[in-house]
């Protein structure tokens, strides 16, 4: 599955990157080299293997006499109570914005007329 110049253009579009012509050329070369290397995963038959998206589910059922066994280990939830945990003050949330007014982040025009 070789990556083409057109695919690099398409993916950079998805990733909100423009990339210079030089960067695009280099990207075609680098992505192909890395993906060639990644292709060795196809040596493995994983038909009956469930994808592991995160660590916790597996750890809870870990075998043997490991200290992981039987311990509470799952994503924790909390009540949705905004009063218990206040949000950042308005000014603090705006403080790092490169362009803003007293109340809002400012951005270039979204809709062209």
């Amino acid at each position: 599955m070789a990556v083409t110049k057109e695919q690099v253009a398409y993916v950079s579009d998805l990733a909100n990157l423009d990339l210079t012509p030089d960067e695009r050329e280099r990207m075609v070369k680098d992505l192909n080299a890395i993906l060639d290397f990644v292709d060795q995963l196809n040596e493995l038959d994983t038909t009956n293997v469930a994808p592991m998206a995160q660590v916790m589910a597996g750890a809870a059922t870990e075998s043997a006499s490991g200290p992981g066994e039987g311990l509470p280990f799952a994503y924790s939830r909390r009540p949705d109570d905004p009063a218990a945990r206040p949000s950042l003050p308005h000014e603090a949330a705006l403080a790092n914005s490169p362009v803003k007014d007293a109340h809002f982040f400012k951005v270039p025009k979204v809709i062209e007329r």
Partner: protein, 483 residues
């Protein structure tokens, strides 16, 4: 205090020295700032110093000492913090142009906990941009140099964290490990670096790279110091739903227990082609010493090891492409000037704000997640990740800990691997496996090469069994000191 005294300070001894009124926390902090001024000039570990915050904290400790009140456990310990960990009011760059002027509005939990335990944060230290790299050469603010040989890299991504402890410009430091970013630089700089279990330490306030892999851990001069630091940063945090409600053992006490009778696995896959001969012999010599200390050494196999790097570079980049989508020039960070449309502003800001390796990983991750390739790359890698994790859970039915080299070679030269991303990725070949499985690991110095470059030995353990990992590392360190 003079510079010589500073080098012998440990996490444990700093508090004692202050308690016994040999020195004040303020004097220690000032002495470290003087040392940074001279000794960090060539190493360049520090990006930002936070004297005001450090002085205020030191003054609090000294006030307690003056009043004869009990001192907190880490009283006055000068620490450096990797610049991907948020510090309220202190610039936090993640080694990136895009966050060059970012001032976090809150503190990272791990940093806050250490400060609550009395530690003094001296400043923020350099790292590869967004923790992506194995040499610290991907920082937008220039590389860090290895204090043991200035022509060589300190490793990465937590290069500044490792180098500051190695150079003695901090007594301990915090780093992050996603595929080896604590253990690999610890090995290359000759210090101890501990990656805790996934979920052991809260990640609230960590600027995310790959959320299923990122962990925060300490760098120290000794295993017992690492045990102390971990004790005070570990445990459930309501601000991080992925932090585990698993009891935190008294690590400093645990490491004193003898290792006699522990079953130590030595996986053959970590001693094959590509392993430097001097690294091999140093690690094998340490394994002999563990045997002499009464450990039962067992040859084991972790058959999917060779698939770990390709798996990691799909999983980690996919997660990174999603995490780094937040950098859009709107709410924080760099914004490119004079864009006419919102879309152009996003693109230009990201183009100008991110470095080459970060763009490469965003592109790779976006590709792996894109329609038509998701199954072939992302889901495939997640399935192989399950096999790699199973290698470990199978092994841990037979052994209590696993010992390997931390890296295939000692520190390499600056510039040696910068043109070849794959060669750089292979620097993490022995560390990514544990990252994918979510198990804890430590790198402990176990010797040096003929060129006097440090060599690291890695100990891996079961989920949440940092106690055994630390205990074995402590035995390695002890045997090393005795030889």
């Amino acid at each position: 205090m003079d510079a010589k005294d500073l080098n012998v300070l440990t996490v444990a001894s700093t508090r004692t020295a202050i308690e016994q009124r040999q020195v004040t926390a303020s004097a220690i902090a000032e002495a470290f700032y003087s040392k940074i001024e001279t000794d960090d000039r060539d190493v360049r570990a520090y990006l930002t110093l936070c004297q005001d915050r450090a002085r205020a904290q030191a003054a609090r400790i000294d006030a307690l000492a003056d009043q004869g009140k009990p001192l907190p456990p880490l009283a006055g310990v000068p620490i450096a913090v990797k610049d991907v960990l948020s510090t309220q009011g202190i610039r936090t760059t993640a080694g990136s142009r895009i966050l060059e002027n970012y001032i976090p509005p809150y503190d990272c939990t791990a940093v806050r906990r250490l400060e609550e335990a009395g530690a003094v944060v001296l400043g923020k230290v350099n790292c590869d941009e967004f923790a992506m790299g194995s040499s610290n050469e991907n920082s937008a603010f220039g590389p860090v140099r290895n204090p043991r040989d200035l022509s060589r890299v300190p490793g990465g991504s937590s290069g500044g964290s490792a180098a500051s402890v190695a150079a003695g410009t901090a007594v301990a430091s915090l780093g992050t490990d996603t595929g080896g970013s604590i253990r690999q630089p610890a090995a290359l700089c000759g210090v101890v670096g501990l990656m805790p279990t996934y979920g052991r330490v809260s990640r609230f306030g960590l600027i995310a790279f790959a959320s299923s892999l990122d962990k925060i851990g300490p760098f120290t001069k000794s295993v017992s110091d690492a045990a102390i630091v971990l004790k005070y940063m570990a445990g459930r945090d309501p601000m991080d739903s992925t932090s585990a409600a698993v009891p935190v053992p008294d690590y400093p006490q645990e490491i004193g227990r003898p290792v006699k009778g522990l079953r130590i696995g030595v996986p053959k896959e970590y001693f094959g082609e590509g392993l430097d001969a001097e690294v091999r012999s140093a690690v094998e010599a340490s394994i002999q010493k563990l045997a002499a200390a009464g450990c039962e050494i067992k040859d084991i196999s972790l058959p999917h090891t060779r698939y770990a790097i390709p798996t990691y570079y799909v999983v980690a980049t996919a997660e990174a492409s999603s995490n780094l989508a937040r950098f859009d020039g709107v709410r924080y960070g760099y914004r490119s000037k004079d864009s006419k449309t919102l879309s152009a502003m996003y693109r230009k800001s990201r183009d100008e704000g991110f470095g080459a390796e970060v763009k490469r990983r965003i592109m790779l991750g976006t590709y792996a997640l894109s329609a038509g390739y998701y199954d072939a790359y992302y889901l495939k890698a997640q399935r192989v990740r399950a096999l790699i994790a199973k290698d470990f859970s199978d092994a841990f039915t037979q052994v209590d800990a696993i010992v390997t080299p931390t890296t295939p070679t000692p520190a390499f030269k600056l510039g040696e691997k910068t043109d070849d991303p794959l060669a750089m990725y292979l620097a993490d070949i022995y560390t990514v496996t544990a990252s994918l499985a979510g198990i804890p690991g430590i790198s402990v110095p176990c010797g040096q090469s003929k060129e006097k470059l440090p060599i690291g030995l890695q100990v891996l353990g079961r989920h949440f069994d940092e106690a055994t990992v630390l205990r074995v590392a402590h035995a390695v360190e002890h045997a090393q000191a005795a030889s």
